[in-house]
């Protein structure tokens, strides 16, 4: 059977896109690697209800479309008249569809620093997932660090869950809590809520500060907090005891499936490679559409809006309502402003020592990266070929941004012909089920 549309990703963009298209009469199948719909924004624990709006959409979607959870998509290929989505759940599965909507979200963008691989150091999104999806705070006394508006809900959530938040360390200096950008989006209430949650528990919020080292033998015991200049060079340091650190410097859109299909990419405002789409969310490859973070990081509301626009356009519903287009324009402008307000500054490279791991998987320290550069590796790819950063399990998802910075180039679109690990046995055998 050939579906009209396969949607990859069950977050706000994917669910909105799938539901909109299904409501318009398309035969839709949605695949997601997780056990529940929600993606990162609407992640919720087993047995818990997600946010009501998303819950209603998910419920409606399940009535009208096939939803395949726990299906990790490792490749999408294009045949003459259709696409095959290659997934792996309990067995290898293939889904055929005339069109594809890529709504694969984003993951945290970490920066390396000495000790960042100690257990107890988590990405901000990781700490959030652990709390929202599993009801487990990352530690008892937690530092939150990095840059961007996402640090606030992470810190507030941890504080509300009873963890002691030892401090929020925002590396950028531009905006205080009172002028925090979530205010600008008519979300003063939301921001005030975070601020209240933090203030009520006397959580320090420090701008121009970062965690530049993590300490401990087998687990995190303390971090070095540094006061930074505007380029993130260190002005002074102090040690802070904590058993967990949630750290993140923005997000990396997951675009490898679009790259596999040959979709053109562009650089977002901060240089990140994103999928290039037109006003109707179409990519450069006929039949392939993209919505949400893969087209540029912008939050759940923009993702949902893009998903709805894609769904309408996919269903051939004539003109997309101006209301949606205007909302998308406003949210995109806001996202661009946020990227401008929280740039990653180059001084972070001065936090590194020669033995600081850049690639966690292959355990490649900075010294080996520099050595490869001296040998004539002038870009991230050739550094990878000589010194192996990015060749391991995560395929450069964790170190890709840092490595590009160290190579002095913008991050390149990821080439990952196998987007998710798959056993050779499963890869060898024809799919056991077809949807």
């Amino acid at each position: 059977m050939i579906h009209d549309l396969a949607v990859i990703g069950g977050g706000p963009a994917g669910v909105a896109g799938a539901l909109t298209a299904a409501l318009a009469g398309l035969r839709v199948v949605l695949l997601d690697g997780g056990p529940r719909l929600g993606g990162q924004y609407f992640r919720h624990a087993h047995g818990a209800e997600p946010e009501p709006r998303f819950a209603r959409q998910s419920h409606a979607l399940r009535q009208r479309a096939e939803v395949l959870l726990k299906h990790q998509v490792w490749a999408v290929s294009r045949e003459d008249d259709a696409f095959t989505v290659h997934a792996h759940g309990t067995a290898r599965a293939e889904v055929r569809a005339r069109r594809v909507l890529i709504a694969t979200g984003a993951h945290d963008r970490p920066l390396p620093f000495p000790g960042w691989d100690l257990p107890g150091v988590l990405t901000a999104g990781g700490a959030q997932a652990l709390l929202k999806g599993e009801r487990v705070p990352a530690g008892r006394r937690i530092a939150v660090a990095g840059t961007g508006p996402f640090l606030l809900p992470v810190a507030a959530g941890l504080a509300r869950a009873g963890a002691e938040v030892a401090g929020v360390f925002e590396a950028s200096g531009g905006l205080g809590l009172a002028r925090h950008p979530v205010m600008a989006l008519g979300k003063a209430g939301e921001a005030a809520g975070y601020a209240w949650a933090l203030a009520a528990r006397r959580v320090p919020y420090r701008r121009n500060h970062a965690v530049i080292a993590a300490h401990g033998e087998h687990e995190l015991r303390a971090v070095t907090v540094a006061r930074l200049d505007r380029d993130w060079n260190v002005l002074g340091t102090e040690e802070l005891e904590c058993d967990a650190l949630a750290v993140g410097y923005g997000f990396v859109p997951q675009i490898e499936l679009a790259v596999q299909l040959g979709c053109l990419t562009r650089q977002d405002a901060d240089g990140t490679p994103v999928v290039d789409v037109d006003a109707r969310q179409r990519t450069s490859v006929p039949g392939v559409w993209a919505a949400g973070e893969p087209t540029g990081v912008g939050g759940w509301e923009l993702s949902e809006t893009e998903g709805r626009i894609a769904g309408l356009a996919l269903a051939g519903a004539g003109e997309v309502p101006g209301l949606l287009l205007r909302r998308r324009a406003r949210l995109r402008a806001f996202a661009a402003a946020l990227q401008g307000a929280y740039p990653v500054r180059p001084g972070w490279q001065s936090w590194l020592t020669p033995d600081t791991l850049i690639c966690r998987c292959e355990e490649v320290p900075l010294a080996r990266v520099r050595e490869a550069q001296e040998l004539g590796a002038t870009d991230a790819r050739s550094i990878k070929l000589l010194a192996r950063p990015g060749m391991g399990w995560c395929q450069g998802r964790m170190c890709g941004y840092a490595l590009a910075c160290l190579a002095g180039e913008p991050q390149q679109p990821p080439r990952r012909p196998i987007a998710q690990p798959i056993s050779l046995g499963a890869l060898a055998e024809p799919p056991q089920k077809e949807h």
């Binding site: 391991g392 056993s423 050779l424 060898a428």
Partner: protein, 381 residues
């Protein structure tokens, strides 16, 4: 002005530069990209004598094998003298394998089916037997290429060997008929001789000098598994079909199982061959076939996960031999390209012999079979 300009900082260019510097020549290496960023960067690092028919390529491979061992003593890159094991599914194929081995005159041991387990404990049962080639080896090609250039620069006087990355050759300079330099994106570079070590792009470089070289891309995919804690596979293991595929001229897809472990932990799985131009689109059927053949050979790989795959483009010439030597159609231009899937293995000998030519010596091997003007009009298209 350099004595020699080498176009291409892949493993072949690196070897040419190293041996030319060692011969006392001033060398400039230019590459439009970084070091080892073409086919060298997609190679498995084969240093094989086992897969060559007796003849000029095998002679080149044997010389190269010896030179790789010498070079590896300088350190700085992985070189594993692991040996190769070619296996046969049937008695008939085994007979062909042992006959080939006898003709090659290369050090080898015929291995009966029941003794295969002593070489590779995880091989599938029921194979007819195989041939063990102790000289087969594997090298980390990217690091080896980069190290060779550095070694040449360090060992033979600073300034003798220059590497210039990000420099694209756009044309050739001539003095009369003779090529005496290259025109590049970063200005003209004069040199006594120019070496075309542009691999799969060697035909394009030759065309800039107005000469035709029929070098075509032959795509190959490699599957990379998760790193294994304990080595599962000791040798480079491949099936007899690999030898036939290497020598075939088919445009369509051919695959054979080539499986080996690496010091870093992952198992590398090849090999596919198809002539589809420079298309990088992932082919799921090819990856599936590679996986199936590997699992058939090593059932223990069934549960092991593939975590990456990549493709590269072998520089293929119609007669499967590389092009090594001065081009009589463009005096001063030397070619060292078109090594198909054997470029890593054949690089040192290529560089060594070419350096002899450049230094005005008689090369240690007859280069006539590799001459640039050997292709017929038809092959020249």
């Amino acid at each position: 002005m350099s004595d020699v300009i080498v176009i291409g900082a892949g493993v072949v260019g690196a070897a040419c530069a190293y041996y030319a510097a060692r011969a006392g020549l001033d060398v400039t290496v230019v590459d439009r990209g970084p070091v080892a960023s073409g086919t060298t960067g997609s190679g498995e690092g084969n240093v094989l004598v086992s897969d060559k028919e007796p003849g000029p390529e095998l002679d080149l491979a044997l010389l190269s094998n010896r030179l790789w061992r010498e070079l590896a003593e300088h350190g700085g890159f992985e070189f594993e003298a692991k040996g190769g094991l070619v296996v046969a599914e049937t008695a008939g194929v085994l007979r062909q394998l042992t006959e080939l081995a006898a003709k090659q005159g290369v050090e080898h041991t015929a291995v009966p089916g029941e003794a295969l387990g002593g070489y590779e404990p995880h091989l599938a049962p029921g194979l007819a037997g195989g041939v063990h080639y102790p000289q087969d080896a594997q090298v980390q090609p990217m690091l080896a290429a980069a190290r060779l250039i550095k070694l040449g620069a360090d060992s033979y006087g600073h300034g003798t060997l220059h590497l210039r990355t990000g420099v694209t050759v756009t044309g050739f300079l001539r003095s009369g008929e003779r090529v005496n330099g290259v025109r590049t994106s970063h200005g003209d570079i004069l040199g006594g001789a120019v070496v075309n070590a542009a691999g799969t792009w060697g035909g394009e470089v030759a065309a800039l000098a107005g000469v035709h070289l029929p070098v075509l891309p032959r795509r190959g995919f490699i599957l990379v598994t998760e790193p294994l804690r304990e080595p599962l596979i000791r040798h480079k293991v491949y099936t007899a079909a690999y030898v036939t595929n290497v020598a075939s001229d088919a445009e369509g897809l051919e695959t054979s199982a080539v499986v080996e472990g690496t010091p870093a932990g992952p198992v590398l799985i090849g090999a596919s061959r198809e002539r589809v131009g420079f298309d990088r689109t992932t082919s799921v059927p090819v990856l599936s076939r590679l996986a199936a053949q590997a699992v058939e050979l090593f059932p223990a790989l069934r549960e092991v996960r593939a975590i990456r795959a990549y493709c590269g483009f072998r520089p293929y010439c119609p007669d499967h031999l590389p092009v090594i030597g001065e081009d009589p159609r463009a005096p001063g231009l030397y070619h060292a390209c078109g090594h198909e899937g054997a470029g890593i293995g054949l690089a040192p000998a290529t560089g060594y012999l070419l350096a002899q030519l450049l230094a005005g010596q008689r090369p240690g091997l007859d280069l006539h079979p590799f001459r640039p003007d050997r292709f017929t009009r038809e092959e020249n298209g």
